[in-house]
Amino acid sequence: MNIVAVTSCPTGIAHTYMAAESLEQAAREAGHTIAVETQGAAGATPLSAEQIAAADVVVLAADVEVRNRERFAGKPTVAVPIKRAINDPSAVLDQAAAAMAAVPAPAGPNAPVPPAPPAARRPVTAGEGPSGATRVRQWLMTGVSYMIPFVAAGGILIALSFVLGGAQIATKVNGGTFHGVSYPKVTDISNLLAQAGVAGVLFKIGAIAFSMLVPILAGFIAYAMADRPGLVPGVVAGLLANAIGAGFLGGLVGGLLAGGVALAILRIHVPKAVAGIMPVVVIPLVSTLIVGFLMIAAVGQPIAAATRGLTDWLNSLNGTNAIALGALLGLMMAFDMGGPVNKVAYTFGLASLAAGNQQVMAAVMAAGMTPPLALALATALRPGSFTKPEREAGQAAWLLGASFITEGAIPFAAADPLRIIPSLMMGSAVTGALVMALHATSPAPHGGIWVIGLIGKPLAFLVALVAGTAVSAACVVVAKSLGRPVATRAGALPADSRHVAVAG
């Protein structure tokens, strides 16, 4: 048997090489030939195209995504957790032999093609990789790690623009009325510097960088799943998530969808004549069409309807208990950070401001500052609960939170939504309720701590902010320690042997 293998592990200094050595040893003993590409910290010597072409079977022993996996498209493939390759390499080779046998030998040009059942035409993937939840987390983390620099660059530029240009800078660039002064929209970007100054330029650059958050997130989630073929449908799904106002949660869904569709298309076995144009034409076209259509038709319309419903509901609540309204707005601000629910709450704050109610605006602003601040605090208190890119994002989050740039929390929420989002909602609800209870006001729709001079009862505003930040940070720390799988049991048992026969 002629085998090519890739080994890869999270740190890239130990398991990658142990697995390579184990597989080489076992293959030698069994009389197979094997070439192993170690995707580790010592650099990889890539498998040559000839080696791959000559291989009967591909073995992927990896706990992280294998780079350039599309090279192996169409080959029988066995994917195993890396520890299995170290502990029991002969069993992995047996699995590889079984996968090879399950794929019909390629028919010669003149041989009649038997109508193989669809299942047998696909490359056979035997064995399970890391467990489902672990894999999803890996995909999300890949997307998040590419997104973080955009959050940092865009967020800090926007924060700087508020520091230099004051709270009106956003209105100066986008047009509208701020604090009784009307500004024309900057329609020609070449006039930006003259019309809005250096601060306006910083704001615009930051806003453009921010507009890439969701496309990058969705694109690289799909990239982690399906490698390069996932990138196009993923990025387009992210752009569409922006266009339909679906926020980063829409981007998460779109990215996973795009990766899944690209993978599914990759597994379709096509005749050699078509295979050449698959990667350049067919896969990008078909996957983007399917994913784009789903995003617009199946995701976009429900979101638009839900946004309308939420807005009407909030309006009907106006005039009821102010503290409960503050808490509710807080929950909404922290739910999706720039997504539809957050936007409904923020728009409600703007409408209240236009109607002369500055308290609601203050509640919305403070509740939107809490999430990044709480995560900055949590990463400082418990660095061990966070990945390295998250700890770095945590440092930038201080400035972003202080500047009411709620997006600073997205990397954390996207990587671990079930733990992070509820925790952030708790603290923002506290902040929103406290602002209303203590009657702090804000005439400014953004600017965060930099417009503290305009805030009515600034001390009350700060108290609400600190209280909510503390609550959210505490919740994040607790949530991160709860229910964290201590050991990934992936690969301990094949799925079938987990069934327990119950008599009767």
Binding site: P10, T11, G12, I13, A14, H15, T16, Y17, M18, A20, E21, S22, Q25, T38, G40, A41, A42, G43, D63, K83, I86, N87, D88, P383, G384, T387, K388, R484, V486, A487, T488, A492
Partner: protein, 152 residues
Amino acid sequence: MNTTELITTELVDLDLAAGDRAEATAHLAGLLAGAGRVTDLDGFLADVRAREAQMPTGLEGGIGIPHARSAFVTTPTLAFGRSTEGVDFGAEDGPAHLIFLIAAPEGGGADHMTILASLARRLVHRSFREALLGAADPQAIVDLVDREVVGK
């Protein structure tokens, strides 16, 4: 190519007394810090814990390989502990008797890492493990690693 040894006798503890993997790791990391290979013990331990939390590093055959690439590591280094009663590192088949704490510098280039790669490759060989189990004193461990991994 580098003047610092991968392992020295002060980085070997043939009588590792530790109840669990946190203690074992902390003890070996203490040796690294004592030898100046790690600049911030707590920071390094946090990085090792984070790696261990992703997936336990215990392997069949009584081996534990806690490891991390960390900004607090000055040079690729190995600390070795041998435990008679064993320390649980999450392997299916029982506790680890041979524990290798592998410390890699964060920004280390590829050639820095090749030495650790060849160490990892030796670890899967039964003869290497048995020699480590049977070594009489720390100098024997250092000689073994130098011969088998570094190729001296």
